[in-house]
Subunit: 598 residues, 2 copies
């Protein structure tokens, strides 16, 4: 279908024939990543560094290039965000965090500057050895797809509000928006941006309140399609999934691109929603590729070593899943902006970072990623397809109007604990360590934990220790409280038949979903009633989206990060979470309806 490109990646027009698909080619997408931060010159040392802050030096989360935002005036976005932010407590907190990052980076640079030539050469040698080892493990035999819905929540809303399709629209409220359609993105409006700032960027922006049941239903519908191409597909979140289509390709004598096109058509037929797909020899590259020709496009990374290396060479490191704002800054400070430079600077990387971190970065430089489904841990086949891994923790937290009264706070703790207890019962788990989380009005986060003598799961058991933790922090003024259970194990006390089954560990994924849905009906008020008017600002779909996904990669910390097991589990733990997508019974019914509708 699409001819191969020199960079080893090719774009294909959407099967629906929409003009907006396939307009981006891989190498074009690359320079779209923040070249504006380059080419500036460094402040002469010794100069005053703390004049009045201005928007030029403000580092916004919102300026990294994302799909649909290549043509945005990033300077303007930065300026507007800065103007709206600069006097807020939130901004002050951002500055505090940035100062810490700066300190760590300076530390790292000091370490880098003190490396002798001989040491660097030695580390380079070690890096070369590691590279050879990684290279030996490269597997180009499989074909992966990563499918990701376009502006997912927003597109679902447009199904009910076709009038909004051509207008800038965001899903969320004035406090926070979850996503925005591509019209809105032209203005710089995007996920995780506060609504009031989005409105400043785009005064005509339409706001739609989120309705997670719809998204759940649509998500289930998509999976019905995914399942056709890979019965063991792994969902990364409500709106995305990884598929190993090697077998499907073989069985149907199709290329990955052809399968991708067919899959996209199938998804659109099933949901009237478009998605974008990346085709690559491993899951990580497929994920990167799926973003390149959004919306409603697809991109191929040709399955040869040369093509992969070419693809990765100029790829901005920020595109690599697991390299976020801080890691990007850190590597930039070392002169590294592309994955190719990760290889070039392999000596420096080996010298500065822990062995496992270096392994991850070098892997990114080589364009490696997971090529097999499932993890190294026990999995359990389920009705939705996929594997289940034991969860490590469960939590519930809420943001609310500033609160300082201890009575209010204890009541809030009670509500949260009750919510948590219900979730734990639904999950059939009990916890040995409880953590209280507080966010003070200046956005500083505190956590206080206690490990109990035994495992607990009822509100009655959990509230007293949580209150004890809370009282130790008083007095204080907070804007968020959370409770969390960890050190989990299966709940042994029985409830009904399903509960008993859960206790025995005999649940399959479908049974779990049903159980979840049932529990979900029974509660959902205690916590929310105290939130009052702010409810619309919190965009988790009650139970489901609280646990959308696990991360595939951990990262960075303290003096210097060590991303232990990061490469190892890359896009492996990420996929475990799909069976944690807790679907209500109602959602399943709606899924059936949608499937029938097409």
């Amino acid at each position: 279908m699409a001819e191969e490109q020199t960079a080893g990646a090719a774009a294909a027009a959407g099967p629906t024939g929409q003009g907006c698909s396939g307009q981006h080619e891989v190498l074009q997408a690359v320079p779209a990543h923040g070249p504006h931060v380059l080419g500036t010159h460094q402040l002469p040392v010794g100069a005053a560094a703390s004049q009045q802050p201005s928007w030029q030096q403000y580092s916004s989360v919102f300026t990294a290039s994302k799909a649909g935002m290549q043509n945005v005036d990033k300077e303007k976005v930065k300026r507007v965000v800065f103007e709206m932010s600069k006097d807020s407590a939130h901004f002050k907190n951002e500055q505090r965090k940035q100062a810490q990052v700066d300190a760590r980076i300076a530390q790292l640079k000091a370490k880098a500057a003190s490396i002798s030539q001989a040491e660097l050469a030695a580390h380079q040698k070690a890096a070369d050895a590691k590279l050879a080892q990684l290279e030996a493990g490269r597997d180009l035999s499989r074909t992966w797809l990563h499918a990701d819905m376009d502006a997912f929540y927003a597109s679902v809303e447009e199904l009910d509000r076709p009038d909004l399709k051509s207008k800038p629209m965001a899903v969320g409220g004035m406090g926070m928006i979850t996503t925005a359609n591509y019209e809105a993105r032209k203005f710089g409006v995007r996920s995780a941006m506060p609504g009031f700032i989005a409105r400043k960027l785009c005064p005509q922006l339409a706001f739609v309140k989120p309705d997670f049941r719809k998204y759940e239903a649509a998500s289930v519908a998509t999976r019905g399609v995914f399942k056709v191409y890979d019965p063991h597909f792994e969902a990364g979140s409500l709106d995305e999934a990884y598929l190993d289509v090697t077998d499907y390709c073989a069985a149907h004598s199709m290329t990955g691109e052809q399968v991708a096109a067919e899959l996209r058509a199938g998804v659109e037929a099933a949901t009237r929603l478009t998605c974008s797909v990346g085709i690559a020899p491993n899951a990580t590259l497929a994920k990167v590729a799926s973003d390149l020709n959004k919306p409603n496009g697809q991109a191929l990374v040709v399955s040869s070593r040369e093509a992969v290396m070419a693809f990765v060479h100029d790829l901005p490191i920020r595109k690599v899943p697991g390299i976020g704002k801080v890691s990007e800054q850190t590597l930039n400070a070392l002169g590294i902006t592309t994955c190719g430079q990760l290889l070039q600077q392999r000596g420096l990387i080996a010298a500065l970072f822990s062995s496992i971190s270096a392994r991850f970065f070098l892997g990114a430089g080589l364009g490696l990623g997971h090529t097999q489904h499932g993890g190294d841990r026990g999995d359990e086949g389920g009705a939705g397809g996929g594997s289940v891994v034991a969860r490590k923790g469960i939590s519930c937290e809420r943001t609310f109007a500033n609160m300082s009264s201890s009575a209010d706070m204890e009541k809030m703790a009670d509500n949260l604990v009750q919510h948590l207890a219900a979730d734990m019962e639904s999950e059939g788990i009990e916890s040995k360590t409880l953590t209280l989380k507080l966010k003070t009005t200046d956005f500083a986060v505190r956590t206080r934990a206690v490990t109990l003598a035994g495992h607990v799961h009822t509100a009655q058991q959990m509230l007293p220790p949580i209150l004890k933790l809370l009282r130790a922090e008083l007095p204080c003024e907070i804007r968020l409280m959370g409770v969390r259970g960890s050190a989990l194990r299966r709940l042994t006390s029985a409830g009904d038949a399903l509960d008993a089954a859960a206790a025995g560990g005999r649940l399959n994924a479908l049974q779990r979903m049903i159980l979840q849905g049932r529990k979900q009906q029974q509660r959902g008020e205690a916590v929310e009633q105290q939130q009052g008017e702010q409810q619309d600002e919190q965009h988790c779909s009650m139970v489901i989206s609280y646990r959308q996904l696990a991360q595939d990669l951990a990262i960075m910390r303290g003096s210097m990060p060590s991303m232990k097991q990061r490469l190892l589990r890359c896009h492996m733990t990420c996929l475990m979470m799909k069976t944690r997508q807790v679907l209500s019974a109602a959602a399943m019914v709606r899924l059936a309806q949608m499937a029938r509708a097409h």
Copy 2:
């Protein structure tokens, strides 16, 4: 003579009537301090920070404004220094050190950013209390002078080479110059600058090899004059002294300015050299003031609280003795460039620095300084006038051609130890801990110390432990080696009568000088002979200038400095050193000659 200025400081033309005196007025001198580093904008965080280094971002030691360099094109100096430096091992080491400083500064800024309003207010309150306490101790009753010879070594050399007076000239060699005359300073040539860079800045620069005996003689001659105005004057180095002229003023019904003018005339008459003088209510301000109207000028800081505060308000912190390159950068990073801002930001300072450091900075902000001679420790009147404080350490070190042969290194250690032993015998001291110092060819400095069972002072005793330390470091390639004794005590074994007296602690300062001079004749070859051609690059006057001065102020370190006893001993320990100026018998004779000559 000079009318008072609004800033509380006044300048007086030199008594010799030279046109170049008094041309600088206090408030003019202030902005001369590196405004070029201000007004630049900070690098956006997240931007690449390690492109190819360029001269713009190079931080030179040589760009801070010093006397006679107000009109220098600092950008050009920076560029030239950078071009001459950038490929050198020395430069690499400077970068390493700067990276460490950057790291510490970033750390500090992170700490600053995490201070809450309440905390800041609390610290401000504490700072106010400390300020009140400091203010209560302010003493404006005394009149201090600080006299500092103009381009001292260079001016002395011009006595013998009058043809050089109008030409740019430096004292030193291609490796390092000790000072330069004011003609040379117009080109940016200055103390501690490598000669080859100075020549680049000023190709016609004349180089004169240093002759420390001349400077010693001239120094002694100046002291003969100083003694008249304050028999207890305290010398800060060969070329400067502090005088409390309160009594002289009273006895002769003269103002400080009148005394200063008379002193300057006296010094010129005695030496045919000019000096500059600061007049102020304390020693520190006098020192700052003496620099303001160099050369051959004087400056007054009026003895009133208002005048002092006005003087200090816009004074660049770098002018404060004890605040060097690193402290300046550190404070600049907090937005502090002037002493006035030290007061403005008192809350921040109290929050970030140790109590004693904050005390020092606040003291600087108030324009405080020592108002009394002598220290809190035992002093012993001496013939030269002044007090003696027990020394803490004694050392000998040499730079030489890169060396990696262990045989050469052991021979060098032997020579150094012999030199040290001779010095220790001269001083009548023995040491319990020995330190070996190595500077590798990449300019990294290592010290290795050992504390012995008992005190030692002979070369035979000291060499084995030093060799042991040395061998533990092999193999390595070095450019400098040094040996040092500390944990000192009086030598109890007897030599001749003087030695016996020394052992008994009955030496006065004059006796010490004689003893030193005698010892000095006996050695001085072992170490030097191994230096060969590089001898002219080392600019300590053999024995004497090895110990020119003690520091008055300690400062800054690690996470954040605590200048313990800094304010307390400010310009107190600094003055102890005058009796450590070891004068040879020959030098004393020459002094008498010079004194007679005028």
